[in-house]
Amino acid sequence: MGTELDTLRRTLPMVGAEPAVLDDTRIAHVVGHGHRILSRRTVPGLRLDLEETQDAIVGKMVIEAGVTIAQPIHMCFGLAHPTGVQQIKINVKVEDGASARVLSHCLFPLAKAAEHRMQAVMELAAGASLTYTEGHYHGPHGGMQVLPHATIRIGKGARYFSDFSLLSGSVGQLDIDYLVEVEEEGLAELAAKIFAHKTDQIMLKEAVILRGERSRGLIKTRVVLEGQARAEITGVTEAHAKGARGHVDCMEIVQGQAHASAIPIVRVFHPEAKVTHEAAIGSVDKKELETLMARGLSPEQAVEMIVSGILR
Protein backbone atom coordinates (compact mmCIF):
# COMPACT_ATOMS: atom_id res chain seq x y z
CA MET A 1 0.00 0.00 0.00
CA GLY A 2 2.84 2.32 0.88
CA THR A 3 4.42 1.88 -2.52
CA GLU A 4 1.17 2.64 -4.31
CA LEU A 5 0.55 5.71 -2.19
CA ASP A 6 4.11 6.85 -2.82
CA THR A 7 3.68 6.40 -6.58
CA LEU A 8 0.50 8.44 -6.65
CA ARG A 9 2.07 11.10 -4.43
CA ARG A 10 5.07 11.37 -6.72
CA THR A 11 2.76 11.80 -9.71
CA LEU A 12 0.84 14.73 -8.24
CA PRO A 13 3.17 17.36 -9.77
CA MET A 14 2.11 16.12 -13.22
CA VAL A 15 -1.25 17.74 -12.57
CA GLY A 16 0.18 20.77 -10.83
CA ALA A 17 -0.27 19.63 -7.23
CA GLU A 18 2.30 19.33 -4.47
CA PRO A 19 2.64 15.96 -2.67
CA ALA A 20 2.85 17.85 0.63
CA VAL A 21 -0.85 18.73 0.47
CA LEU A 22 -1.56 15.19 1.66
CA ASP A 23 0.41 15.85 4.86
CA ASP A 24 -1.24 19.15 5.74
CA THR A 25 -3.74 18.65 8.54
CA ARG A 26 -5.73 21.71 7.47
CA ILE A 27 -6.45 20.19 4.07
CA ALA A 28 -9.02 17.46 3.49
CA HIS A 29 -8.16 14.67 1.12
CA VAL A 30 -8.94 11.18 -0.04
CA VAL A 31 -6.55 8.95 -1.94
CA GLY A 32 -7.96 5.93 -3.70
CA HIS A 33 -5.99 3.24 -5.52
CA GLY A 34 -8.10 0.84 -7.50
CA HIS A 35 -10.94 0.07 -5.14
CA ARG A 36 -8.97 0.69 -1.97
CA ILE A 37 -8.82 3.88 0.03
CA LEU A 38 -5.20 4.52 0.94
CA SER A 39 -5.57 7.74 2.86
CA ARG A 40 -8.25 10.20 3.91
CA ARG A 41 -8.66 13.25 6.08
CA THR A 42 -11.61 15.49 6.69
CA VAL A 43 -12.02 18.97 8.11
CA PRO A 44 -14.85 20.63 10.04
CA GLY A 45 -17.94 21.08 7.90
CA LEU A 46 -17.00 18.29 5.50
CA ARG A 47 -18.40 14.76 5.77
CA LEU A 48 -16.54 12.21 3.72
CA ASP A 49 -18.26 8.82 3.83
CA LEU A 50 -16.51 6.51 1.41
CA GLU A 51 -16.21 2.75 1.52
CA GLU A 52 -14.38 0.09 -0.39
CA THR A 53 -16.35 -2.57 -2.25
CA GLN A 54 -15.18 -5.31 -4.55
CA ASP A 55 -15.90 -3.40 -7.69
CA ALA A 56 -15.86 0.27 -6.70
CA ILE A 57 -15.13 2.96 -4.17
CA VAL A 58 -18.58 4.10 -3.18
CA GLY A 59 -19.82 6.91 -1.00
CA LYS A 60 -20.68 10.51 -0.54
CA MET A 61 -19.15 13.82 0.26
CA VAL A 62 -21.20 16.48 2.01
CA ILE A 63 -20.29 20.10 2.60
CA GLU A 64 -22.58 21.20 5.39
CA ALA A 65 -24.97 24.12 5.14
CA GLY A 66 -23.43 27.55 5.48
CA VAL A 67 -19.88 26.22 5.67
CA THR A 68 -17.06 27.57 3.57
CA ILE A 69 -14.18 25.12 3.30
CA ALA A 70 -11.20 27.40 3.17
CA GLN A 71 -8.65 25.02 1.66
CA PRO A 72 -9.32 22.97 -1.48
CA ILE A 73 -10.40 19.39 -0.93
CA HIS A 74 -8.03 17.03 -2.74
CA MET A 75 -9.49 13.90 -4.29
CA CYS A 76 -6.72 11.74 -5.66
CA PHE A 77 -7.71 8.63 -7.54
CA GLY A 78 -5.59 6.39 -9.68
CA LEU A 79 -3.66 3.24 -10.34
CA ALA A 80 0.04 2.71 -9.74
CA HIS A 81 0.24 -0.35 -12.00
CA PRO A 82 0.17 -0.84 -15.79
CA THR A 83 -3.12 -2.72 -15.67
CA GLY A 84 -6.22 -2.58 -13.53
CA VAL A 85 -9.67 -1.18 -13.13
CA GLN A 86 -10.93 1.61 -10.95
CA GLN A 87 -14.53 2.60 -10.50
CA ILE A 88 -15.70 5.48 -8.35
CA LYS A 89 -19.34 6.05 -7.49
CA ILE A 90 -19.73 9.24 -5.53
CA ASN A 91 -22.49 11.60 -4.51
CA VAL A 92 -21.42 15.15 -3.73
CA LYS A 93 -23.78 17.41 -1.85
CA VAL A 94 -23.10 21.07 -1.24
CA GLU A 95 -25.78 22.17 1.17
CA ASP A 96 -27.52 25.57 1.39
CA GLY A 97 -25.08 28.45 1.20
CA ALA A 98 -22.02 26.21 1.50
CA SER A 99 -18.91 26.74 -0.56
CA ALA A 100 -15.95 24.58 -1.48
CA ARG A 101 -13.25 23.93 -4.02
CA VAL A 102 -12.39 20.40 -5.05
CA LEU A 103 -9.15 19.49 -6.78
CA SER A 104 -9.60 16.09 -8.32
CA HIS A 105 -6.39 14.37 -9.43
CA CYS A 106 -6.73 11.31 -11.63
CA LEU A 107 -3.34 9.65 -11.89
CA PHE A 108 -2.43 6.65 -13.99
CA PRO A 109 1.31 7.13 -14.59
CA LEU A 110 2.12 3.57 -15.73
CA ALA A 111 -1.11 2.65 -17.49
CA LYS A 112 -0.80 0.24 -20.42
CA ALA A 113 -4.19 -1.43 -20.27
CA ALA A 114 -6.16 0.20 -17.48
CA GLU A 115 -9.63 1.61 -16.98
CA HIS A 116 -11.08 4.33 -14.81
CA ARG A 117 -14.80 4.91 -14.46
CA MET A 118 -16.34 7.72 -12.48
CA GLN A 119 -20.04 7.99 -11.86
CA ALA A 120 -20.82 11.14 -9.96
CA VAL A 121 -23.97 12.86 -8.89
CA MET A 122 -23.49 16.38 -7.59
CA GLU A 123 -26.17 18.48 -5.98
CA LEU A 124 -25.70 22.13 -5.14
CA ALA A 125 -28.43 23.49 -2.91
CA ALA A 126 -29.65 27.08 -2.99
CA GLY A 127 -26.86 29.64 -2.83
CA ALA A 128 -24.14 27.01 -2.76
CA SER A 129 -20.90 27.22 -4.68
CA LEU A 130 -18.59 24.50 -5.94
CA THR A 131 -15.46 24.81 -8.01
CA TYR A 132 -14.39 21.43 -9.34
CA THR A 133 -10.97 21.32 -10.95
CA GLU A 134 -10.07 17.99 -12.46
CA GLY A 135 -6.53 17.25 -13.61
CA HIS A 136 -5.66 14.00 -15.36
CA TYR A 137 -2.37 12.30 -16.09
CA HIS A 138 -2.52 9.01 -17.97
CA GLY A 139 1.16 8.33 -18.49
CA PRO A 140 3.04 8.06 -21.78
CA HIS A 141 1.75 4.76 -23.18
CA GLY A 142 -1.76 5.62 -24.36
CA GLY A 143 -3.16 2.54 -22.63
CA MET A 144 -5.78 4.24 -20.51
CA GLN A 145 -9.51 4.20 -20.92
CA VAL A 146 -11.27 6.86 -18.89
CA LEU A 147 -15.02 7.30 -18.63
CA PRO A 148 -16.12 10.07 -16.29
CA HIS A 149 -19.88 10.49 -16.24
CA ALA A 150 -21.62 13.02 -14.03
CA THR A 151 -25.03 14.48 -13.38
CA ILE A 152 -24.94 17.86 -11.70
CA ARG A 153 -27.95 19.69 -10.32
CA ILE A 154 -27.51 23.37 -9.53
CA GLY A 155 -30.08 24.87 -7.20
CA LYS A 156 -31.47 28.36 -7.03
CA GLY A 157 -28.71 30.96 -7.10
CA ALA A 158 -26.01 28.30 -6.83
CA ARG A 159 -22.76 28.48 -8.78
CA TYR A 160 -20.81 25.62 -10.29
CA PHE A 161 -17.48 25.92 -12.05
CA SER A 162 -15.64 22.95 -13.49
CA ASP A 163 -12.30 22.84 -15.21
CA PHE A 164 -11.10 19.58 -16.74
CA SER A 165 -7.53 19.40 -18.01
CA LEU A 166 -5.42 16.67 -19.56
CA LEU A 167 -2.33 18.34 -20.90
CA SER A 168 0.63 16.04 -20.25
CA GLY A 169 1.29 12.55 -21.51
CA SER A 170 -1.12 10.50 -23.59
CA VAL A 171 -4.86 10.60 -23.35
CA GLY A 172 -5.66 7.06 -24.44
CA GLN A 173 -9.41 6.78 -24.75
CA LEU A 174 -11.44 9.43 -23.03
CA ASP A 175 -15.22 9.46 -22.94
CA ILE A 176 -16.67 12.30 -20.88
CA ASP A 177 -20.40 12.68 -20.43
CA TYR A 178 -21.61 15.48 -18.17
CA LEU A 179 -25.19 16.63 -17.73
CA VAL A 180 -25.81 19.83 -15.81
CA GLU A 181 -29.24 21.15 -14.84
CA VAL A 182 -29.47 24.72 -13.64
CA GLU A 183 -32.32 26.20 -11.64
CA GLU A 184 -33.37 29.84 -11.22
CA GLU A 185 -30.46 32.30 -11.20
CA GLY A 186 -28.03 29.43 -11.05
CA LEU A 187 -24.75 29.46 -12.93
CA ALA A 188 -22.78 26.65 -14.56
CA GLU A 189 -19.42 27.14 -16.27
CA LEU A 190 -17.75 24.09 -17.74
CA ALA A 191 -14.26 24.32 -19.17
CA ALA A 192 -12.18 21.53 -20.68
CA LYS A 193 -8.65 21.58 -22.05
CA ILE A 194 -7.09 18.54 -23.66
CA PHE A 195 -3.89 17.96 -25.63
CA ALA A 196 -4.11 14.71 -27.59
CA HIS A 197 -1.34 12.90 -29.44
CA LYS A 198 -0.63 9.73 -31.44
CA THR A 199 -3.76 7.58 -31.54
CA ASP A 200 -5.61 9.19 -28.64
CA GLN A 201 -9.38 9.26 -28.92
CA ILE A 202 -11.64 11.78 -27.25
CA MET A 203 -15.39 11.81 -26.94
CA LEU A 204 -16.57 14.76 -24.94
CA LYS A 205 -20.22 15.47 -24.39
CA GLU A 206 -21.34 18.23 -22.08
CA ALA A 207 -24.94 19.29 -21.76
CA VAL A 208 -26.21 22.28 -19.82
CA ILE A 209 -29.96 22.47 -19.30
CA LEU A 210 -31.05 25.91 -18.18
CA ARG A 211 -34.34 25.20 -16.46
CA GLY A 212 -34.71 28.23 -14.23
CA GLU A 213 -35.35 31.87 -14.97
CA ARG A 214 -32.18 33.93 -15.41
CA SER A 215 -30.05 30.82 -15.19
CA ARG A 216 -26.77 30.96 -17.06
CA GLY A 217 -24.47 28.43 -18.65
CA LEU A 218 -21.14 28.41 -20.45
CA ILE A 219 -19.38 25.48 -22.08
CA LYS A 220 -15.85 26.28 -23.15
CA THR A 221 -13.69 23.60 -24.77
CA ARG A 222 -10.16 23.78 -26.04
CA VAL A 223 -8.65 20.74 -27.69
CA VAL A 224 -5.36 20.45 -29.54
CA LEU A 225 -4.77 17.31 -31.59
CA GLU A 226 -1.64 16.02 -33.26
CA GLY A 227 -0.45 12.74 -34.73
CA GLN A 228 -3.47 10.61 -35.56
CA ALA A 229 -5.60 11.68 -32.63
CA ARG A 230 -9.37 11.92 -32.98
CA ALA A 231 -11.87 14.07 -31.12
CA GLU A 232 -15.59 14.54 -31.21
CA ILE A 233 -16.85 17.36 -29.04
CA THR A 234 -20.52 17.85 -28.41
CA GLY A 235 -21.75 20.84 -26.45
CA VAL A 236 -25.46 20.96 -25.77
CA THR A 237 -27.22 23.93 -24.24
CA GLU A 238 -30.96 24.13 -23.72
CA ALA A 239 -32.75 27.17 -22.37
CA HIS A 240 -36.22 26.60 -20.95
CA ALA A 241 -37.02 29.74 -19.01
CA LYS A 242 -37.29 33.50 -19.23
CA GLY A 243 -33.96 35.28 -19.13
CA ALA A 244 -31.89 32.11 -19.42
CA ARG A 245 -28.58 32.70 -21.20
CA GLY A 246 -26.20 30.11 -22.55
CA HIS A 247 -23.10 30.01 -24.68
CA VAL A 248 -21.05 27.21 -26.22
CA ASP A 249 -17.48 27.98 -27.25
CA CYS A 250 -15.41 25.23 -28.83
CA MET A 251 -11.97 25.56 -30.38
CA GLU A 252 -10.00 22.64 -31.77
CA ILE A 253 -6.54 22.96 -33.26
CA VAL A 254 -5.70 20.13 -35.62
CA GLN A 255 -2.16 19.22 -36.64
CA GLY A 256 -0.63 16.29 -38.51
CA GLN A 257 -3.11 13.57 -39.46
CA ALA A 258 -5.49 14.31 -36.61
CA HIS A 259 -9.26 14.60 -37.07
CA ALA A 260 -11.69 16.72 -35.11
CA SER A 261 -15.36 17.46 -35.09
CA ALA A 262 -17.42 19.86 -33.03
CA ILE A 263 -21.16 19.54 -32.62
CA PRO A 264 -22.72 22.51 -30.87
CA ILE A 265 -26.40 21.88 -30.18
CA VAL A 266 -28.49 24.77 -28.95
CA ARG A 267 -32.18 24.58 -28.15
CA VAL A 268 -34.36 27.38 -26.89
CA PHE A 269 -37.83 26.78 -25.49
CA HIS A 270 -38.72 30.28 -24.28
CA PRO A 271 -38.97 33.47 -26.35
CA GLU A 272 -37.01 35.45 -23.76
CA ALA A 273 -34.15 33.00 -23.53
CA LYS A 274 -31.01 33.11 -25.63
CA VAL A 275 -28.25 30.66 -26.46
CA THR A 276 -25.27 31.39 -28.68
CA HIS A 277 -22.43 29.24 -29.91
CA GLU A 278 -19.12 29.50 -31.68
CA ALA A 279 -16.93 26.70 -32.94
CA ALA A 280 -13.60 26.87 -34.68
CA ILE A 281 -11.66 23.91 -35.98
CA GLY A 282 -8.51 24.08 -37.98
CA SER A 283 -4.83 24.73 -37.94
CA VAL A 284 -3.21 27.45 -35.92
CA ASP A 285 -4.51 30.88 -36.92
CA LYS A 286 -2.33 32.22 -39.74
CA LYS A 287 -2.28 35.79 -38.54
CA GLU A 288 -1.28 34.79 -35.03
CA LEU A 289 1.47 32.61 -36.47
CA GLU A 290 2.80 35.33 -38.75
CA THR A 291 2.69 37.94 -36.02
CA LEU A 292 4.96 35.86 -33.82
CA MET A 293 7.23 35.02 -36.75
CA ALA A 294 7.50 38.73 -37.53
CA ARG A 295 8.91 39.09 -34.01
CA GLY A 296 11.55 36.44 -34.72
CA LEU A 297 10.04 33.16 -33.54
CA SER A 298 10.47 30.16 -35.81
CA PRO A 299 7.24 28.55 -37.05
CA GLU A 300 7.68 25.72 -34.53
CA GLN A 301 8.22 28.14 -31.64
CA ALA A 302 5.24 30.21 -32.72
CA VAL A 303 2.92 27.18 -32.89
CA GLU A 304 4.09 26.04 -29.46
CA MET A 305 3.38 29.44 -27.95
CA ILE A 306 -0.06 29.72 -29.53
CA VAL A 307 -1.03 26.21 -28.44
CA SER A 308 0.20 26.73 -24.90
CA GLY A 309 -1.92 29.86 -24.68
CA ILE A 310 -5.04 28.11 -25.97
CA LEU A 311 -4.67 25.32 -23.43
CA ARG A 312 -4.42 27.58 -20.40
Binding site: K286, E288, E290, L292, M293, A294, R295, P299, A302
Partner: protein
Amino acid sequence: MPAPLLEIRNLTFEIGRQTILDRLDLTIDPHEIHALLGANGSGKTTLAYLLMGCDGYVPTAGTILFEGIDLFPLKMHERAQRGVTLAWQEPARFEGITVREYLTLGRQDRAPESALAQVGLAPDRYLHRRVDKSLSGGERHRIELASVLTMKPRLAILDEPAAGIDMLSINHIIQIIRTLKEAGGSIVLITHQEEVALIADRASQLCGGRIIFAGSPREVVDHFRGRICVRCDGAVCGY
Protein backbone atom coordinates in the same frame (compact mmCIF):
# COMPACT_ATOMS: atom_id res chain seq x y z
CA MET B 1 25.75 59.28 -48.99
CA PRO B 2 25.22 56.21 -46.83
CA ALA B 3 24.09 53.05 -48.56
CA PRO B 4 20.32 52.64 -48.35
CA LEU B 5 18.99 50.31 -45.68
CA LEU B 6 16.27 49.08 -48.00
CA GLU B 7 16.38 49.15 -51.76
CA ILE B 8 13.32 48.12 -53.75
CA ARG B 9 13.73 47.85 -57.49
CA ASN B 10 11.11 47.15 -60.15
CA LEU B 11 8.89 45.33 -57.64
CA THR B 12 5.85 43.79 -59.28
CA PHE B 13 3.17 41.68 -57.63
CA GLU B 14 0.28 40.21 -59.51
CA ILE B 15 -2.68 38.14 -58.44
CA GLY B 16 -4.11 36.46 -61.50
CA ARG B 17 -4.43 39.19 -64.08
CA GLN B 18 -4.55 41.94 -61.51
CA THR B 19 -1.39 43.95 -60.95
CA ILE B 20 -1.21 45.04 -57.32
CA LEU B 21 2.31 46.49 -57.40
CA ASP B 22 3.66 47.71 -60.74
CA ARG B 23 7.44 48.07 -61.14
CA LEU B 24 7.71 49.92 -57.85
CA ASP B 25 11.01 51.57 -56.87
CA LEU B 26 11.73 52.84 -53.37
CA THR B 27 14.73 53.32 -51.11
CA ILE B 28 14.78 53.78 -47.37
CA ASP B 29 17.86 55.23 -45.73
CA PRO B 30 19.23 54.32 -42.31
CA HIS B 31 17.45 56.22 -39.52
CA GLU B 32 14.76 57.39 -41.90
CA ILE B 33 11.05 57.62 -41.28
CA HIS B 34 9.38 57.21 -44.63
CA ALA B 35 5.65 57.77 -44.87
CA LEU B 36 3.58 55.94 -47.47
CA LEU B 37 0.34 57.59 -48.44
CA GLY B 38 -2.27 56.46 -50.88
CA ALA B 39 -5.91 55.71 -51.36
CA ASN B 40 -7.39 52.41 -50.22
CA GLY B 41 -6.27 49.66 -52.57
CA SER B 42 -3.24 51.56 -53.83
CA GLY B 43 -0.86 48.76 -52.70
CA LYS B 44 0.51 50.03 -49.39
CA THR B 45 -0.34 46.98 -47.28
CA THR B 46 0.67 44.60 -50.07
CA LEU B 47 4.07 46.25 -50.10
CA ALA B 48 4.30 45.78 -46.33
CA TYR B 49 3.44 42.07 -46.64
CA LEU B 50 6.00 41.58 -49.40
CA LEU B 51 8.70 43.24 -47.32
CA MET B 52 7.89 41.02 -44.35
CA GLY B 53 7.49 37.86 -46.45
CA CYS B 54 3.95 37.00 -45.40
CA ASP B 55 2.48 33.74 -46.65
CA GLY B 56 1.36 34.03 -50.28
CA TYR B 57 3.29 37.23 -50.94
CA VAL B 58 5.99 36.32 -53.42
CA PRO B 59 6.87 39.01 -55.94
CA THR B 60 6.20 38.44 -59.60
CA ALA B 61 9.32 40.44 -60.48
CA GLY B 62 11.85 42.80 -58.94
CA THR B 63 14.21 42.79 -55.97
CA ILE B 64 14.23 43.89 -52.36
CA LEU B 65 17.65 44.35 -50.82
CA PHE B 66 17.93 44.88 -47.07
CA GLU B 67 21.40 45.97 -46.00
CA GLY B 68 22.51 44.69 -49.40
CA ILE B 69 21.01 41.21 -48.87
CA ASP B 70 18.24 39.84 -51.04
CA LEU B 71 15.25 39.31 -48.73
CA PHE B 72 13.30 36.90 -50.90
CA PRO B 73 15.11 33.69 -50.04
CA LEU B 74 14.59 34.47 -46.35
CA LYS B 75 11.56 33.23 -44.46
CA MET B 76 9.55 35.57 -42.36
CA HIS B 77 11.24 34.78 -39.04
CA GLU B 78 14.66 34.96 -40.68
CA ARG B 79 13.84 38.47 -41.89
CA ALA B 80 12.71 39.32 -38.36
CA GLN B 81 15.91 37.94 -36.93
CA ARG B 82 17.79 40.30 -39.26
CA GLY B 83 15.84 43.20 -37.84
CA VAL B 84 12.78 43.57 -40.07
CA THR B 85 9.38 43.57 -38.43
CA LEU B 86 5.78 44.47 -39.19
CA ALA B 87 3.00 45.86 -37.03
CA TRP B 88 -0.32 44.92 -38.58
CA GLN B 89 -3.14 47.33 -39.12
CA GLU B 90 -5.44 44.96 -37.23
CA PRO B 91 -3.20 43.11 -34.81
CA ALA B 92 -3.87 39.46 -34.00
CA ARG B 93 -5.28 38.46 -30.64
CA PHE B 94 -3.91 35.53 -28.69
CA GLU B 95 -5.94 33.46 -26.31
CA GLY B 96 -4.17 32.78 -23.05
CA ILE B 97 -0.94 34.69 -23.80
CA THR B 98 -0.15 37.51 -21.41
CA VAL B 99 1.13 40.90 -22.44
CA ARG B 100 4.41 40.14 -20.67
CA GLU B 101 4.86 36.92 -22.64
CA TYR B 102 3.93 38.62 -25.88
CA LEU B 103 6.42 41.41 -25.35
CA THR B 104 9.31 39.21 -24.24
CA LEU B 105 8.71 36.06 -26.33
CA GLY B 106 10.88 34.15 -23.92
CA ARG B 107 13.84 36.49 -24.20
CA GLN B 108 15.42 38.05 -21.14
CA ASP B 109 16.87 40.98 -23.06
CA ARG B 110 13.49 42.51 -23.88
CA ALA B 111 12.14 45.08 -21.46
CA PRO B 112 8.34 44.97 -21.44
CA GLU B 113 7.87 47.50 -18.63
CA SER B 114 9.58 50.38 -20.37
CA ALA B 115 7.97 49.55 -23.71
CA LEU B 116 4.51 49.63 -22.15
CA ALA B 117 5.26 52.89 -20.39
CA GLN B 118 6.39 54.40 -23.70
CA VAL B 119 3.09 53.55 -25.34
CA GLY B 120 1.22 55.09 -22.44
CA LEU B 121 0.04 51.91 -20.72
CA ALA B 122 0.76 51.35 -17.03
CA PRO B 123 2.88 48.17 -16.77
CA ASP B 124 1.34 47.09 -13.47
CA ARG B 125 -2.11 47.20 -15.04
CA TYR B 126 -1.28 45.52 -18.33
CA LEU B 127 1.59 43.05 -18.01
CA HIS B 128 -0.63 40.31 -16.60
CA ARG B 129 -3.54 40.93 -18.94
CA ARG B 130 -4.04 38.67 -21.90
CA VAL B 131 -3.57 39.71 -25.50
CA ASP B 132 -7.09 38.61 -26.35
CA LYS B 133 -10.54 40.02 -27.03
CA SER B 134 -10.64 41.68 -23.62
CA LEU B 135 -8.36 44.45 -24.91
CA SER B 136 -9.92 47.35 -26.77
CA GLY B 137 -8.74 48.10 -30.30
CA GLY B 138 -6.68 51.03 -29.09
CA GLU B 139 -5.06 49.04 -26.29
CA ARG B 140 -4.19 46.24 -28.68
CA HIS B 141 -2.63 48.72 -31.10
CA ARG B 142 -0.47 50.19 -28.38
CA ILE B 143 0.65 46.75 -27.25
CA GLU B 144 1.55 45.95 -30.84
CA LEU B 145 3.77 49.02 -30.94
CA ALA B 146 5.26 48.08 -27.58
CA SER B 147 6.18 44.68 -29.01
CA VAL B 148 7.93 46.40 -31.92
CA LEU B 149 9.79 48.61 -29.46
CA THR B 150 11.07 45.64 -27.47
CA MET B 151 12.57 44.18 -30.67
CA LYS B 152 14.65 47.27 -31.41
CA PRO B 153 14.26 46.59 -35.14
CA ARG B 154 16.49 47.86 -37.92
CA LEU B 155 13.39 48.34 -40.08
CA ALA B 156 9.88 48.61 -38.66
CA ILE B 157 6.95 48.54 -41.06
CA LEU B 158 4.03 50.16 -39.29
CA ASP B 159 0.69 49.72 -41.02
CA GLU B 160 -1.72 52.36 -39.72
CA PRO B 161 -0.14 52.51 -36.26
CA ALA B 162 -2.56 55.16 -35.04
CA ALA B 163 -5.74 53.47 -36.24
CA GLY B 164 -8.22 53.31 -33.38
CA ILE B 165 -6.08 55.48 -31.15
CA ASP B 166 -7.90 58.33 -29.41
CA MET B 167 -6.92 61.89 -30.30
CA LEU B 168 -5.26 62.51 -26.96
CA SER B 169 -2.96 59.54 -27.42
CA ILE B 170 -1.75 60.25 -30.94
CA ASN B 171 1.26 62.03 -29.47
CA HIS B 172 2.25 58.78 -27.74
CA ILE B 173 2.27 57.04 -31.10
CA ILE B 174 4.27 59.81 -32.69
CA GLN B 175 6.77 59.65 -29.86
CA ILE B 176 7.08 55.88 -30.25
CA ILE B 177 7.89 56.26 -33.92
CA ARG B 178 10.55 58.81 -33.06
CA THR B 179 11.90 56.50 -30.36
CA LEU B 180 12.26 53.71 -32.89
CA LYS B 181 14.30 56.04 -35.06
CA GLU B 182 16.42 57.27 -32.15
CA ALA B 183 17.17 53.64 -31.31
CA GLY B 184 18.79 53.31 -34.71
CA GLY B 185 15.90 52.01 -36.75
CA SER B 186 14.19 53.06 -39.92
CA ILE B 187 10.44 53.11 -40.30
CA VAL B 188 8.11 52.54 -43.21
CA LEU B 189 5.07 54.38 -41.98
CA ILE B 190 1.77 53.61 -43.68
CA THR B 191 -0.80 56.10 -42.54
CA HIS B 192 -3.87 58.07 -43.47
CA GLN B 193 -3.41 60.54 -40.65
CA GLU B 194 -1.77 63.80 -41.62
CA GLU B 195 -0.33 64.61 -38.22
CA VAL B 196 1.36 61.21 -38.15
CA ALA B 197 2.62 61.45 -41.73
CA LEU B 198 4.19 64.85 -41.07
CA ILE B 199 6.76 63.43 -38.64
CA ALA B 200 8.39 61.52 -41.50
CA ASP B 201 11.67 62.56 -43.08
CA ARG B 202 10.40 61.73 -46.56
CA ALA B 203 7.16 60.52 -48.01
CA SER B 204 5.80 58.80 -51.11
CA GLN B 205 2.36 58.55 -52.61
CA LEU B 206 1.21 55.25 -54.07
CA CYS B 207 -1.39 54.93 -56.75
CA GLY B 208 -2.23 51.83 -58.73
CA GLY B 209 0.75 49.99 -57.31
CA ARG B 210 3.34 52.61 -58.24
CA ILE B 211 4.90 55.54 -56.48
CA ILE B 212 3.54 58.53 -58.32
CA PHE B 213 4.94 61.28 -56.18
CA ALA B 214 7.73 61.63 -53.61
CA GLY B 215 9.03 64.48 -51.56
CA SER B 216 8.79 66.01 -48.13
CA PRO B 217 5.84 64.84 -46.02
CA ARG B 218 4.15 68.22 -46.44
CA GLU B 219 4.53 68.11 -50.22
CA VAL B 220 3.16 64.59 -50.45
CA VAL B 221 0.27 65.27 -48.07
CA ASP B 222 -0.68 68.33 -50.12
CA HIS B 223 -0.30 66.40 -53.34
CA PHE B 224 -2.50 63.61 -52.02
CA ARG B 225 -5.07 66.11 -50.82
CA GLY B 226 -4.96 67.88 -54.14
CA ARG B 227 -5.96 64.63 -55.77
CA ILE B 228 -3.42 65.07 -58.49
CA CYS B 229 -2.63 61.77 -60.06
CA VAL B 230 -0.27 62.09 -63.00
CA ARG B 231 -0.37 58.43 -63.85
CA CYS B 232 -3.98 57.43 -63.98
CA ASP B 233 -5.71 60.75 -63.85
CA GLY B 234 -8.16 59.34 -61.37
CA ALA B 235 -9.18 56.34 -63.44
CA VAL B 236 -7.36 53.76 -61.31
CA CYS B 237 -7.06 55.28 -57.88
CA GLY B 238 -10.59 56.49 -57.63
CA TYR B 239 -9.84 60.16 -57.21
